[in-house]
């Protein structure tokens, strides 16, 4: 087992465990903390894929901005723990688990058939394309139009969230 595989397995283990903990914690703040751990481990996995730029913005945008927003809202609303979560295994959970496992199994089967023999090595230029320089150049040349449109989406989102969240008739 190579060092690379070891690193990957450790990181995957952290990611999966933190994800499971995230969905099982009754306290939403704890869930948020585990989600941040999950994001950070994903970020390191991106690095193993030579995607430096994505790894950085994963930390900056997701773990930084978005999750801070989550925690902020949770604290603002001062939410109580979910009472029923750990009570018992009710029917709804069983049904959900059943269907989720079915979907998992079906996709896993499909994946096993289709990609297990291919894509054994990373492409040679993978280091090159993950660089900030390369991606920046692409963003401002080939992808300039969608890039500019994102600014529109963000401004709409800002205005929309202000309109939705402000107190009415004041």
């Amino acid at each position: 087992m190579s060092l690379q595989a070891l690193v990957f397995l450790v990181l995957s283990f952290i990611a999966i465990v933190s994800a499971i903990l995230m969905i099982t914690r009754a306290n939403p703040v704890k869930s948020a903390i585990f989600l941040i751990i999950n994001f950070l481990s994903l970020s390191i996995i991106y690095l193993t894929l030579n995607a430096q730029f994505i790894a950085i913005i994963q930390v900056l945008v997701y773990a930084g901005a978005i999750m801070v927003l989550f925690v902020f809202v949770i604290m603002l609303l001062n939410l109580q723990d979910e009472k029923k979560l750990s009570d018992k295994l009710d029917l709804r959970k069983v049904v959900a688990l059943l269907f989720v496992l079915l979907v998992f199994g079906r996709i896993a089967l499909g994946l096993g058939k289709s990609v297990s023999e291919r894509f054994l090595k990373q492409a040679e230029n993978s280091v090159e394309i993950g660089k900030v320089e390369f991606i920046g150049e692409k963003l401002f040349t080939n992808y300039i139009l969608p890039f500019e449109i994102t600014s529109l989406i963000l401004i709409v989102a800002i205005v929309g969230s202000i309109v939705l969240a402000k107190r009415k008739f004041e």
Binding site: A96, F99, R106, I107, L109
Partner: protein
């Protein structure tokens, strides 16, 4: 110049749009009236300039197709807004716009003070536009567009005073009657066009006629096509059996009767046959039918005109009768004679109607000739012009009606048969009689209108009368029969249009000019006899008339009630259709079946949804599970 023939159509359209959309805002009658008139005048000028251009060309070159834009282009069908400029269409365009212009001017005076003044001129301009589309079109579909368009304008204008009672109905009922009767004819026309498209693969005049000119005479499909087109013509041009709408069309304002129901629109059928002369020449049976229907209509309508008391009614039956002459001419292959009569008829019949309008104008819209009389002194201009027109329609030389009618009668004799000629001659006698009965009762007998004060119409109305009177008198000289040793300008002008058709017809020229002169003399005698008889009876021996109506009260009643044709049609056609529509189609089919299906499907939907709406339980996670199941199914399907 011929390239700008489209201008002739654009001008009335502009007038229609301006008067129709902004007339209520302009308000000033003079401005509205002159916009309406001058746009038509402008298109007359355009037509006239095109005519001058054609005159300068050799006769074989006088034919242009001017294409403006494509209208329908699908599969094998290629229809465009393109116009055919040739001697026939230019002649028709000049008649339509020329007479139309005079009638527009007349209407400024006649419609003075009417609250629908702008609407009236908008409709008239739309009519001119549609009529020009009809006569200038270079394919049957565009012609049909104009054909339907003039029908629409006719409907709108008959019912122009939509709240005014008319006989036993309202004017809008009269308009509806005209429209529905015309629809019956148009149905035939349309079927004819379908058949034509199937057979010739085109609706374009040039293509159809060039294919047709290679066919054998007596082709059975062409027989059906021409017969169906003729059905359309009987509707539009008020021939037996579809003439019933025209007398009721007199419910409209008098200038409308003059323009649409005498001078132009009703001649559309004649024009259509003249335009399709090549096809008709291939179908001798249809030609015979056309000739017989024309001759019968000429006599039949004239007989009803003998006893009518409405001034416009008499003229309406006269119009039907004269149209019958034109169809007689078409039927015997005397195409240019028919068109000649169309032209002269446009002048003198428009004049007669406008004169009738001036009389009604003077007597507060009195229509009953029994309540007129003695107007000779009060309306001198109207009287003189009316008298000239009556002489013209009666066929007294050298007025225009003599030449055209005589040519038709000669054609009926030489190319048709003695019997057709006889019918025509009887009709001519009746025409002379009822026209001079009208003149006598309206202008010459002692006054019977009570305390009214008749007055001559304003200049704007009398001037068109004078101009039309002039043309009614002299227009005949353009078509003097060849047997006088002079050149027949009119025939010469139309020759290139009809040469293909004439080549197909076996024209007998065995009859000598002597026969022609004898017949001419006889017909003049007949007309003069009719005139003198009418004048003798109504001016000298009015009591004899009363006695005659007593003695022949059966015939009199039959004629007066128009052979009860309206009642017969009502019983055998209108009532069953109404009954079937109401009881069967509405009460049963519409209410029970159609509504049943619609309401039933709504009921089934609401019953089903009242059960399955409980799936919408408002729990988002339930929806998500359903979503997941859907994904699962799709995964199973695609992998």
């Amino acid at each position: 110049m011929h390239k700008y023939i489209g201008l002739a159509l654009i001008f009335p359209l502009i007038g229609f749009i301006v008067n129709g959309l902004f007339g209520w805002k302009i308000r000033k009658e003079k401005i509205i009236g002159w916009i309406g008139s001058l746009t038509v005048g402008a298109s007359f000028v355009v037509s006239f300039l095109v005519y001058i251009e054609l005159l300068g060309l050799p006769s074989y070159a006088r034919k242009f197709t001017v294409e403006y834009f494509s209208w329908i282009k699908t599969g094998g069908l290629d229809i465009s807004f393109s116009y055919l400029v040739d001697p026939l269409s230019v002649l028709m365009a000049m008649v339509v716009t020329g007479v139309g212009f005079l009638i527009h001017v007349y209407s400024i005076g006649y419609m003075h003070g009417d609250k629908g003044f702008a609407r009236f001129f908008a409709y008239l301009n739309l009519f001119i536009f549609m009529m020009l589309t009809l006569v200038l079109a270079d394919n049957y579909l565009l012609m049909f567009l104009g054909w339907e368009g003039v029908g629409l304008c006719s409907y709108l204008l008959i019912g122009f005073w939509y709240d005014k009672p008319f006989e036993k109905m309202t004017t809008s009922d009269a308009g509806r009657k005209a429209f529905i009767v015309n629809r019956i004819g148009d149905f035939g026309f349309l079927i004819g066009l379908f058949l034509m498209y199937k057979y010739f693969g085109s609706l374009n005049f040039n293509t159809v006629f060039s294919i047709a000119s290679k066919l054998q005479v007596g082709d059975s499909t062409v027989f059906w096509i021409t017969l169906l087109l003729f059905v359309g013509a009987t509707g539009k041009s008020a021939q037996i059996p579809l003439y019933v709408w025209l007398p009721d069309a007199m419910a409209g304002p008098t200038p409308v009767s003059a323009l649409i129901h005498a001078a132009t629109m009703v001649t559309a059928g004649v024009y259509m046959i003249a335009r399709s002369s090549v096809l008709y020449a291939l179908a001798p049976t249809t030609m015979e039918i056309v000739a017989v229907i024309g001759a019968l209509t000429a006599v039949y309508a004239a007989s009803m005109g003998l006893v009518q008391n409405g001034i416009k009614k008499v003229l309406a039956y006269s119009t039907i009768s004269q149209l019958g002459y034109m169809f007689l001419a078409m039927g015997v292959g005397a195409f240019s004679a028919g068109i000649f009569h169309l032209t002269t008829h446009a002048f003198f019949k428009a004049l007669l109607f406008l004169g009738a309008g001036a009389v009604m104008h003077a007597l507060d819209n009195e229509e009953d000739i029994q309540k007129m009389g003695g107007l000779k002194n009060y309306l001198p201009i109207t009287y003189k012009t009316f008298f000239i027109a009556s002489l013209a329609i009666a066929g007294i030389p050298p007025l225009s009606g003599f030449f055209s009618k005589d040519e038709i009668l000669w054609g009926a004799y030489s190319q048709g048969s003695f019997w057709l000629w006889l019918l025509g001659a009887i009709g001519a006698f009746m025409t002379a009689f009822y026209m001079f009965r009208l003149v006598a009762l309206v202008f010459e007998t002692p006054a019977r209108y009570g305390a009214k004060h008749p007055h001559e119409a304003p200049k704007v109305m009398t001037l068109p009368l004078v101009i039309l009177g002039f043309f009614s008198a002299v227009a005949g000289f353009i078509g003097i029969p060849e047997s006088f040793g002079l050149k027949n300008l009119f025939h010469h002008w139309l020759e290139p249009v009809f040469e293909d058709a004439n080549a197909k017809l076996i024209l007998e020229s065995a009859h000598s000019t002597t026969t022609e002169f004898i017949l001419m003399f006889i017909s003049v005698l007949i007309s003069a006899g009719g005139i003198l008889l009418a004048r003798y009876l109504y001016l000298e021996r009015i009591n004899v008339v009363a006695k005659l109506t007593q003695t022949f009260s059966g015939i009199y009643k039959l004629l007066y009630n128009k052979y009860y044709v309206d009642e017969i049609y009502d019983t055998i056609v209108v009532k069953p259709v109404k009954w079937g529509s109401e009881k069967l189609l509405w009460r049963f089919f519409d209410v029970k079946i159609i509504d049943g299906i619609v309401n039933g499907s709504a009921r089934v939907t609401s019953a089903v949804s009242s059960v399955i709406r409980f799936i919408q339980n408002g729990i988002v996670q339930f929806y998500a599970v359903v979503f997941l199941i859907g994904i699962l199914i799709i995964l199973w399907l695609i992998f």
